[in-house]
Symmetry: C2
Subunit: 243 residues, 2 copies
């Protein structure tokens, strides 16, 4: 069995928004960076899977933030991978704590292994040997990602995928979807930071040059988003619950 592992961060000025708090995008980015670095340390990273023409793909993410740390604040992210209980989904957990050890955030991520040749998810049984002694059987720190469906946008915006949006695969960087969504939200929701829960589901990759449509619907305390690709297929959906 592996232990939970901690990684330290600080809120550099480029990570804050106009309220001088770390953006949701930057905190999610740190969470994903931790996933990448920890997987590398444990020998279960995309690099290892690539030897068989496979890679990890992030499918769903839930993030609860009691607060967003301020500029220059230091914090830690604790991470661990649960033993697989699903044939296709691997669960990696995160706890975010301030420099005094007080927890202010939690996240649960769900990943698939994709075979690039077949363009299909692979059964985790095929990679189980990599995980010997890599699991930590501690419960997830919050509810797993919820499904986000049935969004009926009342506001839509267009966004053309450009240079600053893409990753090394020339696909839209996962975190950019969050940026596009927050850029569609009325600014009033972002002037008073308050506890929130984000559920996000990545369904399709978007590419350089595609014109995306970001749809937004407010349903009571839920801000709902869907991003459609250039062919009008749903690429990403999300909900922010304001607490």
């Amino acid at each position: 069995m592996a232990e939970k592992t901690n990684y330290n961060f600080s809120v550099a000025p480029e990570k804050v928004d106009f309220m001088l708090h770390a953006t949701i995008e930057s905190l999610c980015s740190d969470i994903l960076n931790v996933a990448g670095v920890d997987a590398k340390h444990k020998g279960i990273s995309a690099d290892v899977l690539m030897q068989q023409n496979r890679s990890w793909v992030l499918s769903r993410l839930s993030v609860e933030l009691d607060r967003q740390p301020k500029q220059y604040e230091e914090y830690g992210i604790l991470t661990w991978v649960n033993p697989h209980t699903s044939r296709l989904i691997s669960t990696r957990n995160f706890e975010l704590s301030d420099s005094e050890g007080k927890q202010f955030g939690r996240a649960v991520s769900q990943w698939c292994v994709i075979d690039f040749e077949k363009r299909m998810p692979v059964s985790l049984e095929e990679v189980e040997h990599l995980f010997t002694d890599k699991f930590c059987d501690a419960p997830s720190p919050c509810e797993a990602p919820r499904k986000v469906r049935g969004i009926e946008p009342s506001v839509t915006r267009k966004h053309e995928v450009r240079y600053s949006d893409i990753d090394f695969n020339r696909h839209v960087n996962t975190m950019r979807y969050i940026r596009m969504m927050l850029n569609t939200l009325p600014i009033e929701y972002l002037t008073e930071p308050r506890p929130l829960r984000l559920d996000i589901h990545f369904a399709k990759e978007c590419r350089l040059g595609e014109v995306l449509t970001i749809g937004y619907e407010q349903r009571e305390n839920l801000s709902l988003f869907e991003i459609r690709n250039g062919e009008d297929a749903v690429a990403c959906t999300a909900a922010i619950e304001w607490k």
Copy 2:
């Protein structure tokens, strides 16, 4: 006389582009962060000027990059302020070096002190007392920012200023202008990193909700940009010379 002061950085994954090199935007962001932190350490920061309802405003910046460091690479930024030779402009210099001490970049920034009440630049003589022993009389490491004028755009794009673009003043974050420009450049210029020089001139502030027009002209090895605000006034101009 003060010494040159060094600050260390590493290229976190959120700082790279699809070529896995630190973006020009992220390197310029680090340069400006160093300016802010070093000014704070030396007691010449915007906080101190704010006591008299004044602040530093970045007017022009020149940056030379022999190369852009790779993801996870470590590097240092050395900074110093020159004795004032102009009544209105303070010059702060930067040298970027890799972990082995090899210099790969240089920058010169020119700043004004603005009086918020009069909305006018202040003579540096009025703040000269702050600078006792804070100057370092070493020459700038590269040519001061050049003027960028007479751009005749052959390509234009629109960009509405949204949440992720603004700083704590609700003005467009200085670094976002660079992002907008690179997002307008044909992607081919960014697939083969090569030495470059950037000259950028900040003329006007842009605000949340304004629809900006980004114009681009290619003139031999010069990529020229101008950004116009919602009233069609030039807010920012820049040139990238590809070497």
